[in-house]
């Protein structure tokens, strides 16, 4: 066998073909503030990107691990509450609050994942939904922190003692940088040995066990990584609106995350970003048009599921051939 066959043994499309779309997305996001510097636009796209981080985290377990978490909004809420509650107690430093948020998300994922991952399929969906609802109702009962009404922050988190996050454009680029960082991190993870085992267990669990892998350990680790990243999105989300509420953790939002990943294209990572941005912008647009936007939005998602099987990303991919 030729030596070259060993160097790159996995048949893969040329580099540009794999990277042009994600590169284009990030480039477009980078120039948005130059073209539309308005507060409204920066806020809207920042929100879309934060949803992108959350959707990315879900794609790791859903797209690469076949774990349909229907309680992912809980992690967003936990991250947001961690930041807002610390703020309430005078800890306004992002350098402290954000790692705490990540840790809270990871811990919740470790505990709930260890239980949920003992089940598969529809039971896993139900149990993650149950944990999500548990987090939601816990938040509504936190009367010291606003209960149903939620909790306000007086200003954005400080970044190493400075107030630079207060600037909309700066905040925008911090969110963009975080999105890019998470994307590259997850891209590396899915291609690593760990990612290979995770993907393999999705392909054929029986085979992976017979090879000597215990899928549970890898799925749990992926679930923890996913929860941690989603909580980071929550920490940013709290700062975006200077407000947290139990509404961040509704099962509808968990469903939206799934819709974002599926519509964009599962198991591609950049598909999750495209899905999140697309759905966030469409929602905003429909909400302006009519109060009954949800009646339009629902069928729209169904149409994407039918006509863009494999998501927008694969639709674009097929068009390019």
């Amino acid at each position: 066998m030729a030596d070259t066959a060993l160097a790159a043994p996995t048949a893969s499309p040329p580099l540009w073909r794999r990277w042009w779309l994600p590169a284009l997305v990030f480039l477009a996001l980078a120039v948005v503030p130059l073209i539309w510097p308005e507060r409204f636009v920066l806020g809207l796209v920042s929100r879309a990107m934060i949803m992108g981080i959350a959707a990315l985290s879900l794609d790791l377990i859903l797209g690469y691990g076949a774990m349909v978490s229907f309680g992912h909004a809980a992690f967003l809420g936990l991250g947001a509450y961690a930041v807002a509650i610390l703020f309430e107690h005078g800890i306004v430093e992002a350098g402290i609050a954000f790692p705490v948020a990540i840790l809270v998300g990871a811990t919740f994922a470790l505990v709930t994942g260890a239980i949920s991952l003992k089940t598969r399929g529809v039971y896993f969906i139900m149990i993650t939904l149950a944990f999500g609802q548990m987090a939601f109702f816990t938040a509504t009962s936190l009367s010291a922190y606003g209960g149903d009404d939620g909790l306000r922050m007086f200003h954005r988190s400080e970044l190493f003692g400075t107030r630079i996050l207060a600037n909309e454009a700066t905040f925008y680029f911090v969110v963009l940088g975080t999105l890019l960082g998470c994307y590259l991190l997850l891209k590396a993870i899915v291609a690593s040995r760990f990612g290979r085992v995770l993907r393999g267990a999705k392909e054929n669990e029986r085979r992976m066990r017979a090879l000597g892998f215990d899928p549970f350990r890898y799925r749990l680790a992926a679930y923890v990584i996913s929860g941690a990243i989603c909580a980071l999105a929550g920490a940013l989300f709290a700062n975006l609106g200077l407000f947290v509420a139990p509404a961040y953790m509704t099962w509808q939002r968990s469903g939206e995350f799934i819709a974002m990943v599926v519509a964009g294209g599962m198991g591609t990572l950049h598909g999750a970003i495209i899905g999140a941005i697309g759905i966030t912008l469409i929602e905003e647009w429909l909400a302006e048009l009519t109060q009954h936007w949800k009646a339009i939005f629902g069928p729209l998602v169904v149409l994407v599921a039918i006509f863009a099987r494999g998501g927008i990303v694969r639709l674009i991919d097929r068009g390019g051939r």
Binding site: P9, R193, F194, V197, R199, A210, F213
Partner: protein, 251 residues
């Protein structure tokens, strides 16, 4: 005889009222190819599952390389060197052929809790995978998607995956099933080349292959071992002739 690599002692398993394994006691000697034959539904695949840990036992013990592994989970047995192929092939369809084998190699090459280095360019894993693919005659298909392989090629792939797993015992469940004459011959050659290097439990219907390869044969009928011995002994056994084998195959 040196101590057996695998000892089955009083294995029993029922699915409802059906006794699918009924007091199976069997020793596999190091280095031997031990064929298990018997009609469809005799419980051969179930027996393999009991050895690998996929099928929980009602009674009996499984001893592998001197250790009682009866309560070990599947993956732990696999890591200890109990390596199987499946009657209904089990590959990773979305992976390339070489990545299937590299994944098998990875299980026996340090930790898989490695998060940043791309696995696809790990030279050591790929080299081992390519060597095994060459051994089974599948090297030229290395870059193809595993899903695109023919039935016979998937069987070859399963053998390659078994070979990189540092097997101490190979459990092969009908490795020639559904293959054409030519492919069967090639598989017999592959297994012949491995004979002596790895002990094997070979479940197989193809009697030509069985008699060419096996050092010993056990005959399983309704979950019971009705005969066990050298090919000649089994060939001559009247109970076997009556219960299972067509006369012409013994001519």
């Amino acid at each position: 005889m040196s101590s057996p690599i695998l000892s089955l002692n009083g294995l029993a398993k029922s699915f409802g009222a059906l006794k699918v394994t009924d007091g199976v006691t069997l020793d596999i000697a190091p280095g031997e190819i031990h064929a298990v034959i018997g009609p469809n539904g005799a419980g051969k695949t179930t027996l393999i599952g009991e050895i690998t840990g996929e099928v929980p036992l009602d009674a009996g013990t499984v001893t592998f390389a001197g250790q009682d592994i009866t309560r070990w989970p599947v993956h732990r047995r696999a890591l200890a060197g109990l390596t199987r192929s499946f009657q209904i092939t089990q590959v990773l369809p979305g992976f390339s052929v070489v990545e299937n084998v590299a994944t098998a190699a990875q299980a026996h090459d340090g930790s898989s809790f490695s998060f940043f280095r791309p696995a696809a360019t790990e030279r050591r894993l790929n080299d081992r995978a390519m060597t095994a693919l060459a051994q089974v005659g599948l090297a030229d298909r290395a870059r193809s998607g595993a899903a695109s392989l023919s039935h016979g090629e998937k069987r070859q792939l399963e053998i390659a995956m078994a070979l990189v797993a540092e097997p101490r015992l190979l459990l092969l469940d009908e490795p020639m099933a559904g293959m054409g004459r030519e492919e069967t011959e090639r598989m017999v050659d592959v297994l012949m080349a491995l004979k002596g290097r790895y002990p094997m439990v070979l479940v197989e219907h193809d009697m030509h292959a069985v008699f060419r390869l096996a050092d010993r044969i056990s005959v399983l009928v309704y979950g019971r071992v009705i005969a066990s011995g050298t090919p000649d002994q089994v060939r001559a056994d009247p109970a076997v002739r009556e219960a299972y084998l067509g006369e012409e195959e013994f001519a």
